[in-house]
């Protein structure tokens, strides 16, 4: 096996925190990377088996992690992950509230329960976890929270207005929290990925209620979507995790209320 054991100082040494939706995609890439950089990670996801796999892989590599499975739409769970992590690790330094939901394409004739779902998982869950984390971060005098918005959080999504509502909302949330809690040493930032090669991309290019994409070849749809940016490809999950790593680490100690686009130049 290719082991380049280059001695580098670890970028998240002595940091203890949470990554949600960490069983696959960007969250998984983040959990694995943060752990390699010295962080202890609570791997949170709906998929218990996959969350454990990520946690086990981290542990087997000499890092520290445990899996927490549950549904973040359940408020008790969204809050509980903070308490459980604090209990297991003794402290909480970072939270990447990454879990999101692609929502639906529809506007006219929309059942407004879809609105609730879009807001629940994309915003409410992140908000709930963040407010639980605040007292713990206040105790330590520092802490870093990261939300995941999207290019659809800085421009209007032509595909899903509901998705844009949620993703714009997260940026507003981060900016406000940054202003209120910055004096206490806490930072709230946002990462805005463009087209990224993760399981969710399958849904983002072809939402279940989208007429235009029904029955079309998924690989072709993804190829076309990925080609729609200056770099001509989708981001790798690691490329978004790299940005998350920076924003959550001490290297970003003066970065607060910021939205970092990782979109290949799409919205430039």
């Amino acid at each position: 096996m290719n082991e380049k054991d280059i001695e580098m100082s670890k970028r998240m040494a002595d940091r203890f925190g949470i990554v949600t939706a960490a069983a696959s995609g960007m969250g998984r890439a983040g959990a694995l990377r943060f752990a390699r950089e010295g962080a202890a990670v609570a791997v949170v996801d709906l998929d218990e088996a996959k969350a454990r796999e990520v946690a086990d892989a981290i542990t087997a590599a000499g890092g520290q992690a445990f899996a927490l499975a549950g549904n973040l739409m359940d408020e008790d769970f969204a809050r509980g992950i903070v308490q459980e992590t604090r209990k297991r690790f003794g402290r909480l330094d970072f939270l990447w509230a990454h879990a999101g939901h692609p929502s639906v394409s529809r506007v006219e004739g929309l059942d407004l329960r879809e609105f609730d779902v879009a807001m629940n998982l994309n915003v409410r869950a992140a908000f709930a976890s963040a407010i639980e984390a605040i007292p713990h971060m206040r105790e330590r005098g520092f802490g870093s929270v990261l939300f995941t918005s999207s290019t659809s959080g800085v421009i209007g999504s032509p595909f899903s207005p509901l998705y844009s509502v949620a993703k714009w909302g997260l940026i507003g949330l981060a900016r406000s929290l940054a202003k209120r809690y910055g004096p206490e040493g806490m930072r709230f930032n946002v990462v805005c990925p463009g087209t990224t090669d993760t399981p969710m991309l399958d849904v983002l290019v072809s939402r279940p209620d989208e007429e235009e994409t029904k029955g079309r070849n998924l690989d072709e749809l993804k190829r076309v979507r990925a080609a729609g940016n200056p770099m001509g490809r989708a981001a790798r999950p690691e490329e978004v995790a790299n940005a998350a790593l920076f924003l959550l680490s001490q290297e970003a100690s003066y970065v607060n209320g910021a939205s970092l686009l990782v979109d290949g130049g799409k919205t430039a």
Binding site: M1, N2, E3, A57, A60
Partner: protein, 265 residues
């Protein structure tokens, strides 16, 4: 009519909720055995048992932290209750990986790895041997060692030490249990080709996972990595009457990696 190799055998597998342990447990059932799926993660063990046998007749899940001697004893007792008979095959597979420079390792984590990998195997054996001795069949105790039980790797000192310990344990217990008709062997797999391997490579810092897996396979004399099915095959063999004259043996499933220095081409 095909003869199943483990017809009517009663088998216990620890660390059986996932991976190699689950693969072996599944194969045991396929070969006619009834199996207890033991794991520290009861939910995962139950899912595995249900998946192997939805009827719940041939596979049952029992929680067990092998580092706890009382839990191992309770496991054997509960297994005998499920079988209505002594244990015929015990695959002490539960173990954990651990990597990193020893100088940077936290003592508590080192301790846990040794507790699970070495003491766990010991306590399972201690609890299972009396039952195995009462088995009407040629009883078989199987440990899971590793390629790191015969060959070392840097950044794996704790894991290597724990797996070398298994090899010694296997030999000693083979001698101790032979008079009671119980055979004791070990299986030593190299890293197996599974999705988990890919996650491990990524956790360890590999940038291009496909390439890392391909490199690992290319470094093996046979040109591929062993699979969970290879492990299951070995477990069935050692558990079966076909291995009646094999005891104290460490069966290495490593595609030739430990045979010597190998350069392709």
């Amino acid at each position: 009519m095909s003869t199943m190799q483990l017809q009517d055998h009663h088998a216990v597998v620890t660390g059986a909720a996932r991976g190699l342990g689950a693969a072996a447990a599944r194969r045991f059932v396929a070969e006619g055995a009834r199996v207890v799926i033991a794991d520290i993660d009861l939910d995962a063990a139950k899912r595995c048992a249900l998946d192997i046998d939805p009827g719940g007749e041939r596979a049952a899940a029992i929680a067990c932290d092998v580092a706890d001697p009382a839990a191992c004893e309770a496991l054997v007792e509960a297994s005998e209750a499920f079988f209505g008979a002594p244990v015929d095959v015990f695959l002490a597979h539960a173990g954990m990986g651990f990597a990193g420079a020893l100088a940077e390792a936290e003592p508590a984590r080192v301790r846990r790895v040794v507790e699970v990998n070495v003491l766990g195997a010991l306590f399972c054996a201690r609890a299972a041997l009396p039952s195995l001795a009462r088995s009407p069949r040629a009883a078989s105790l199987i440990f899971t060692s590793s390629l790191q039980g015969v060959m070392a790797r840097a950044q794996r000192s704790v894991y290597t030490a724990s797996k070398h310990a298994i090899v010694g344990l296997t030999k000693a217990l083979a001698l101790e249990a032979a008079p009671q008709g119980v055979r004791v062997n070990a299986i030593a797999p190299a890293s197996t080709d599974t999705p988990f391997l890919r996650t491990q490579l990524e956790a360890a810092g590999a940038q291009d996972i496909d390439r890392a897996v391909a490199q690992a396979a290319a470094a093996m004399p046979l040109g591929w990595l062993p699979t969970p099915e290879d492990f299951a095959d070995a477990a069935v063999f050692l558990a079966s009457p076909a291995a009646r004259s094999i005891t104290g043996h460490n069966l290495v499933i490593d595609c030739g990696a430990s045979a010597g220095i190998f350069r392709r081409g």
